[in-house]
Every structure is written in structure tokens, then in C-alpha cells.
Point group: C2
Chain length 264, copies 2
């Protein structure tokens, strides 16, 4: 990609994300007068759709040859990874959006021929922008995130939801219990995008989950790559960009240690 | 308690909390140049102790007849609940303080003859002060928190750590797994004070954990009481203020529904 194009994409993505975040924050003012849960749920569905449509309209106008893959399905029919694809989750962490009005994010991963070019995860409630550009590093607002040091499970704080610690169809829960037991502690925030951004910024040492869609992880993978984080499926295989995947993202060293428990 | 005394305590507690929060935030500037984990751990130990001593000195000077119960043990030997007792956790969520530099809190519960008078939980990273005064309601910064509506488990987001979802010595984990399965979702933040404040402010519908000390829950109970939240041990018995307790805190309705699973 030419440098000029890349700068143009960065400026546009950041400006549109800021605008979308404002729309989301503004929607809370409306909910303050709404007391019935069903109404809030309706509002959320609308906001998810509206924000996705907002991005698609902007992208189609400014970058007519780019494609869009979005959670709400208003984007393009994507068959392969050729060309430039914006992979967008307008609200990652919708339950948090409803229940907490915080801990949700706008997630945008931009790929060219399957290679991550740029990732943005905007934690709207805390006004924290996690941003990464291929080969240029990752940033939390103005702060350049350092490369991730190695760590061990006994010193690690792991992002894992309680769902995977009890019996479930997707993973041997006894292996997950062992990871929980051997770690320093676990956390769960209910937004995959934020949890991947936390691994990239060192707030979590690892994050694992059993089923994510492309819009949940597309931006996070680019962030992780820039700081030396490792991300694979929970069986150690490479993540497939356009499919549902299990994800194990972690600092170096720790990724291998967790994987050894999960795959034995 | 006389109204004047109460106002004096409120002003002092808020001012000292703000001052302590500034000390904690400032400590991060020092850590930016510290790269070895052991050094950060030392710093944390110091900050825990320093903040507790800071409060004790202030309290002894301004309210010489009040007693202090603190996590670090610099306070008084408390035998019973008579008189006015400040129950203080200088840093609730120490692991988060080290790993995240956010999601930790200063927690202060003030009791008179065993009755909750005032509670403060200051989420330092997000600059959110949760404050409650007996009979006067609970507040998140300037916003008066509404009374908690009833809810059901299937619509509820529950705060519960993965530790209790696997086999453990303190609770039948299969009952906890059932609660996880039947809920809308679970979260875990690693700070009991913040998690109790989240229940009081509706960000979580319930929170359960198996072992908390007085300084972990003293402030949270006062907040919950002001918004109609229910808090007991996980076997339904009353919480004992000066001992370690299991805690189940929840919206009305939901508390009973969860308890029915835990005690059967």
C-alpha cells in the first residue's frame, strides 16, 4: 500500500470512529428517560445497525474500491481476502452497552490481501483508543505500547469467561480449570475487542475464548502483532481471518505454557 | 450521630480520599521507569502501607475518639462494633494496581455501633466516586443512583470469579456452574469493592465471592443498602461485620433466585 493511501485511511478511520463514539455516547442521554428494558434493547439493536451503516456509507464514498465485512451484515459478501477489507464491529460488547453503558468498543481491522494493515479498538466509555499500524507499532492514545515481555502462568492474569471453566461443548473444561488454578488470577470483561487490547497493552497477560467472529478479533490481532503478542486457535493452529475461531492470545512464553495444558 | 458531626466526617473522608488517590496516581509516574516486576511489587507494598498510615494519621488528629480497622494492620485492635469505626482498604484490587494501573479502589466504610453511616468507594483509574450516606441515598459522582429494580437470573449479568466455577474448598462448584449457565453472562474485575459498587449502580446485577475481609465489603454494604440491594452470606445468613464472610450481593428477586440454587 502506498504511504499516502495509508495516511488517508488512518485519518478517515480515526475521524469516523470518533464520530461514531459520539453517537453512541449521545444514545445514553436518550436511555436515561427510558425505564423499560425492552426499549433499551430496541435502542441497542438500532445503534448497532446505525453505526455499521454509518461506516459503510463513509467507506463507500471515500474508498469505493474497499470492501466491508460487518457484524450486522450490511457490508459486502466476502468470499476471499483479496483487496482491502474493513472488518467492523460497531458495538463489541453489546450486553455491556446495555447493562453498563461502558466496557464496549468500536472495533475496526483493515486488511489488504489478508495482511493486517491497521487496527483500531475504541473503548468508548473510557475514551481509550488502541491503534496499530503494520510495522509502525501500537499505541494507547498517545502512548506507544512497549513490546510484550515473556511471563509465566504463575505470574499471569488471564482473561477467561466462566462459561469455559464449567462443562461445555467446545473445550475440555478440566484443562481450563487447571489454567485458572495455576494463574495469578482471572478476569472477564465481556468484550473480546477490549480483552485483546488489554493483552496488547499488558493489562492482561493472556486471553482465551472459544468462539469469535472476524469482527471480534480483526483489529485485536493487528495490535498484538505490533507488540510481539502471539495469537492462535486454542489448538495452536493459525487463525482463519474470515471464519469463526477459538482464540488464545498471550505474551510470548505464556502462550506456549497455556497451549501445552490445552492440547495435551 | 449529630448532623454536624456527620457533615464533618463526610467532608474529611472525601478530601482525604481525593488526596490519597492523587498519591496513588502519582506512584505510576515512578513505575514508568521501573522495569523489574519485583520493584513494582515492592512499590505496591509501600503504597498500601503509606495510604493506610495517611488515613490513620488524619483520622487520629481530627477524630481522636474514632477507631480504625485497616487491611495493613496499622489501625486499632477492634474487639467489638461499639463506637465509630473507619474500615479502610487503601488499595482494593492490588493485583490490578500492579498489572493494569486501573480497576483498583480506595474503600472506606464508616460504622457507628455496628450500623453503616457512610461508604466511599473511589475507582481511582476511572475517577468514579461511589458514595452513600445512611438514609440519604447513594451517588456515583453527582448522579443519584436509582433504587434497584427486581430482575431474574436469565436477564442478569453476574460478577463471579472463575475460581468458584471449578472445584474448590468453599462452595459446591456445580451449583455455581448452574448459575453461570442460567445467567445472561458473567464478568470478573478483581476488586470486590468495585464489584459491589457495580451492583449498587446496576452495572452488575449480582456479585458473589467466597471469602472477603471487612475492609473489602464494609463500604459496599452501605452503598447497597441505600439502593435496596440485598447482601448476605452465600448461605443466606447475615454478614458479620468484623469477620471474613462469603458474600452474595444482588438485586431484589435475583438474590433469592441465586440463593435457592446455592443452598439446595
Amino acid at each position: 500500500m502506498e504511504k499516502e493511501t495509508c495516511i488517508k485511511i488512518e485519518e478517515a478511520a480515526k475521524a469516523w470512529t470518533a464520530e461514531a463514539a459520539e453517537m453512541l455516547q449521545k444514545s445514553f442521554e436518550d436511555t436515561l428517560t427510558i425505564t423499560y428494558k425492552s426499549h433499551i434493547a430496541d435502542l441497542v439493536t438500532n445503534m448497532d445497525k446505525n453505526i455499521e451503516k454509518f461506516f459503510i456509507e463513509k467507506i463507500q464514498k471515500v474508498f469505493p474500491d474497499h470492501k466491508v465485512l460487518g457484524e450486522e451484515g450490511y457490508g459486502d459478501e466476502i468470499q476471499d481476502t483479496s483487496g482491502i477489507i474493513w472488518i467492523i464491529d460497531p458495538i463489541d460488547g453489546t450486553t455491556n452497552f446495555i447493562h453498563q453503558q461502558s466496557n464496549f468498543a468500536i472495533s475496526i481491522g483493515i486488511y489488504e490481501d489478508g495482511k493486517g494493515i491497521m487496527g483500531l479498538i475504541y473503548d468508548v466509555g473510557n475514551q481509550n483508543l488502541y491503534f496499530a499500524k503494520d510495522g509502525k507499532g501500537a499505541f494507547l492514545n498517545d502512548y506507544k505500547l512497549p513490546k510484550l515481555d515473556k511471563t509465566t502462568l504463575s505470574e499471569a492474569v488471564i482473561g477467561v469467561n466462566a462459561t469455559w471453566v464449567g462443562p461445555n461443548k467446545r473445550i475440555n473444561h478440566e484443562n481450563v480449570q487447571e489454567i485458572v488454578r495455576k494463574s495469578r488470577g482471572t478476569r472477564s470483561y465481556g468484550s473480546a475487542a477490549i480483552e485483546l487490547a488489554y493483552v496488547a497493552s499488558g493489562k492482561l497477560d493472556a486471553y482465551m475464548t472459544m468462539r469469535l467472529s472476524p469482527w471480534d478479533f480483526a483489529a485485536g490481532l493487528i495490535l498484538l502483532n505490533e507488540v510481539g503478542g502471539i495469537a492462535t486457535n486454542t489448538d495452536g493452529k493459525p487463525i482463519q481471518l474470515l471464519k469463526q475461531n477459538s482464540i488464545l492470545a498471550a505474551r510470548p512464553g505464556l502462550h506456549e505454557e497455556i497451549l501445552n495444558v490445552l492440547v495435551r
